[in-house]
């Protein structure tokens, strides 16, 4: 009896220790990650066609002088681009983390779930039939398109025999993606907006402005807060539907909120930067590997890592074939594909 109590106390002490360890590790990773992001952003701003020194970057931020061309380049072109890169990366990574938690599916991620093709589809329709659409209108339509993609893929999964297994998810994503992109191409060719679309498909940050930063901040801020709010429930849900229900969770509510988070985050990211794949797939896995399965930590750390990865990928995209830009989506794919293959080969690990 006594020994049992002892053991329980010991267990809870152990648990407490573990929790503390996770907190320290998590905080440490967050701080180091943020510092790395700041450094990479500095590099991203400094690197480009016009040679600018890191010191100048700092000056342009602290003592902005509108008469200097270099300061203007930094303020108007390079800063919004670097900030957008961080935000888009963060949004995509968190979106992937939430998807993987909700579906308990290691391959779930925005690019596989038909989200990006859905957004592209909506954009083509808007460009083709409402050529005067504003930036806000385009953003809104890509939200709707992203939602369409996710809902299609989820519906196929939900109504298929045997449920949403990883291979089904991947195949449903491929099928929905190619169907929507076939429609987009047909409409784009017919209405001659194909050229506008071609670059967008490759994914890129060249067209980002302070306006894009604003969209990302508003949507991203809201989405991230909501994601953090349901993070505890996602952790429990990721242990299994039964466990979650047994603990008295309203799984339907959590799932619905989760889908809303995914829609907001991916919609915003896609509307700014186009189809950038694999960040939402790779980052949550790396984060989980480092910090464990607690989504209260997975979500913020995924955001930091996702931001870091995309800033670095964007720098690489500009360096590989300078002075031409390689599409950043191709760079993330080069990192992501081996990772995807590794996951595809692996045994089904829990999330």
């Amino acid at each position: 009896m006594n020994g049992n109590a002892h053991q329980r106390e010991g267990n809870s002490l152990e648990l407490h220790k573990n929790k503390l360890k996770t907190s320290i590790k998590g905080t440490f990773v967050l701080i180091v990650g943020s510092i790395l992001i700041l450094i990479s952003m500095g590099l991203s701003i400094a690197y480009g066609a016009a040679d600018i020194k890191l010191g100048t970057v700092w000056e342009a931020v602290s003592h902005f002088n509108p008469e200097l061309t270099s300061h203007q380049i930094i303020q108007e072109i390079r800063m919004p681009r670097a900030i957008s890169a961080v935000l888009v990366g963060a949004l995509l990574a968190v979106s992937g983390a939430v998807m993987q938690g909700l579906t308990r599916n290691p391959l779930a991620s925005p690019s596989i779930m038909g989200v990006t093709d859905g957004a592209a589809f909506a954009l083509v329709i808007t460009l083709a039939f409402f050529p005067t659409a504003t930036m806000l209108g385009l953003t809104f339509s890509s939200f709707i398109g992203a939602g369409l993609g996710v809902i299609l893929v989820f519906t196929i999964g939900a109504f298929s025999k045997g449920g949403l297994t990883p291979v089904k998810l991947a195949l449903a994503g491929v099928a929905v993606g190619s169907m929507l992109s076939a429609y987009s191409s047909a409409i784009a060719l017919h209405t001659q907006v194909a050229k506008d679309m071609s670059f967008w498909y490759a994914g890129g940050l060249t067209t980002t402005t302070w306006g894009s930063v604003k969209i990302l901040l508003i949507a991203g801020g809201f989405g991230l807060l909501l994601a953090l709010y349901i993070s505890r429930s996602i952790t429990i849900l990721s242990l299994g539907e039964e466990v979650s229900k047994g603990l008295g969770q309203n799984t339907l509510l959590v799932k619905s909120l989760g889908v809303i988070v995914v829609l907001i985050l991916t919609g915003a990211a896609v509307s700014v930067a186009g189809a950038i794949g694999f960040i939402g797939l790779v980052i949550p896995h790396i984060t989980r590997f480092m910090i464990g399965s607690d989504y209260r930590w997975i979500i913020p750390i995924s955001a930091v890592f996702g931001g870091l990865l995309l800033v670095l990928a964007d720098i690489a995209a500009r360096m590989v074939n300078a002075p031409f830009e390689t599409p950043v989506g191709a760079i993330t794919a080069i990192i992501g594909v081996p990772f995807f293959l590794y996951l595809a080969r692996g045994e089904r690990r829990g999330l």
């Binding site: 291979v167 491929v174 169907m179 076939a182 490759a202 191709a330 794919a333 995807f340 293959l341």
Partner: protein, 339 residues
């Protein structure tokens, strides 16, 4: 015995019907287009008694393209049928598995490094292109096989690895595509989504013998495919050297896909849908099933190309897009039914 006779009869009727449908589509397709030519004039022109303009449109533009559609359709359909048989996976298709994009990647590389532009492919280039496509398809297939190998080939793993390899080649293609000039970029993009291009008699002359040699080879192996469907152990018991036969059949499927891509770009889903429909029509016996698949593939692709050329004219919708619009929903239904 009577059952098999009934099957034979059904087979003959089906083949007959499909051939008639194909011929009808062929004739309609000859008539339609930016320049409409009345059926009688078509007939006259084909006999060499038409006007010079009709001669040019029909014989130099439309006919080679349509013959290429027939060849590519049969090639992709049979390639898919073999892949599905060998991997025992109903969802296998050269497009989904990434074999098409491997071939597409090599063709893009070839154009980028040796031809300079999509429009200036030389006669010698036309001879080399199928070869490059074949090399790309074989590399992709080899990669997929190697990466999916883990004490044997698990069908699910094979498909997942295929999807990964597919997006890898896709990314690599985009990199080179963006290095081309903007006009070539668009042309390459259209071609990669499946478009019959470079349709001239030289291309037909090169591809026809290649594909028409491989199709009978596949049919010759029909018996082996039947037995392999029973499982590796049974097949080995019946004296089939499973691994060797599997590699040979894979090579045939990959070559068919590669050659088809050289002329028709990345047409996805046809290799999936045609075998499925024909299996429902005639059953799984490969001696009957493969010929039906081939004719059905030809018919479907010719039909899709005719629709793509005329539905939204003067816009020409690439045939691959038409195929995807119709077959992706079919694929989704299959996916939902599969366990």
């Amino acid at each position: 015995m009577t059952q098999s006779k009934a099957k034979q009869k059904k087979f003959i009727v089906l083949i007959g019907l499909l051939v008639i449908l194909t011929v009808i589509t062929f004739i309609i397709s000859l008539n339609l287009g930016v320049v409409r030519i009345a059926p009688l004039d078509v007939f006259k022109t084909l006999l060499g008694m038409g006007t010079a303009r009709d001669q040019l449109v029909l014989v130099d533009f439309r006919l080679p393209r349509m013959i290429l559609s027939l060849l590519i359709g049969a090639g992709l359909a049979v390639s898919g049928a073999i892949l599905q048989g060998v991997t025992k996976n109903d969802l296998a298709d050269p497009g989904i598995l990434g074999i098409n994009s491997g071939a597409g990647f090599m063709v893009i590389l070839f154009i980028y490094f040796f031809q300079g532009s999509m429009n200036s492919v030389t006669t010698f280039g036309i001879f080399l292109m199928p070869l490059f496509a074949l090399v790309g398809a074989v590399i992709a297939a080899f990669l997929i096989y190697l990466l999916a190998w883990k004490k044997g080939i698990d069908p699910v793993r094979l498909i997942l690895v295929g999807i990964g390899v597919n997006s890898g080649f896709g990314a690599a293609i985009v990199i080179f595509q963006l290095k081309m000039n903007p006009q070539d970029f668009m042309q390459a993009a259209v071609w990669l989504s499946g478009d019959i291009w470079g349709a001239n008699w030289k291309f037909v002359a090169i591809l026809a013998p290649l594909i028409l040699l491989l199709l009978p080879l596949a049919l010759y192996k029909a018996h082996t495919l039947n037995i392999m469907n029973l499982g590796d152990q049974v097949a080995t018991g019946l004296g089939i050297r499973v691994e060797k036969e599997r590699r040979l059949l894979l090579l045939v499927a990959v070559a068919l896909a590669g050659f088809s891509v050289a002329a028709g770009g990345g047409i996805a889903f046809l290799g999936l849908v045609a075998p499925h429909i024909s299996k429902r029509l005639i059953g799984p016996k490969h001696q009957l099933f493969l010929p039906i698949t081939a004719v059905l593939g030809s018919f479907l692709l010719l039909l899709a190309d005719t629709i793509g050329k005329n539905l939204l004219a003067p816009t020409q919708i690439p045939v691959g897009i038409v195929v995807a619009i119709f077959s992706a929903p079919y694929f989704i239904i299959l996916l939902m039914k599969a366990k």
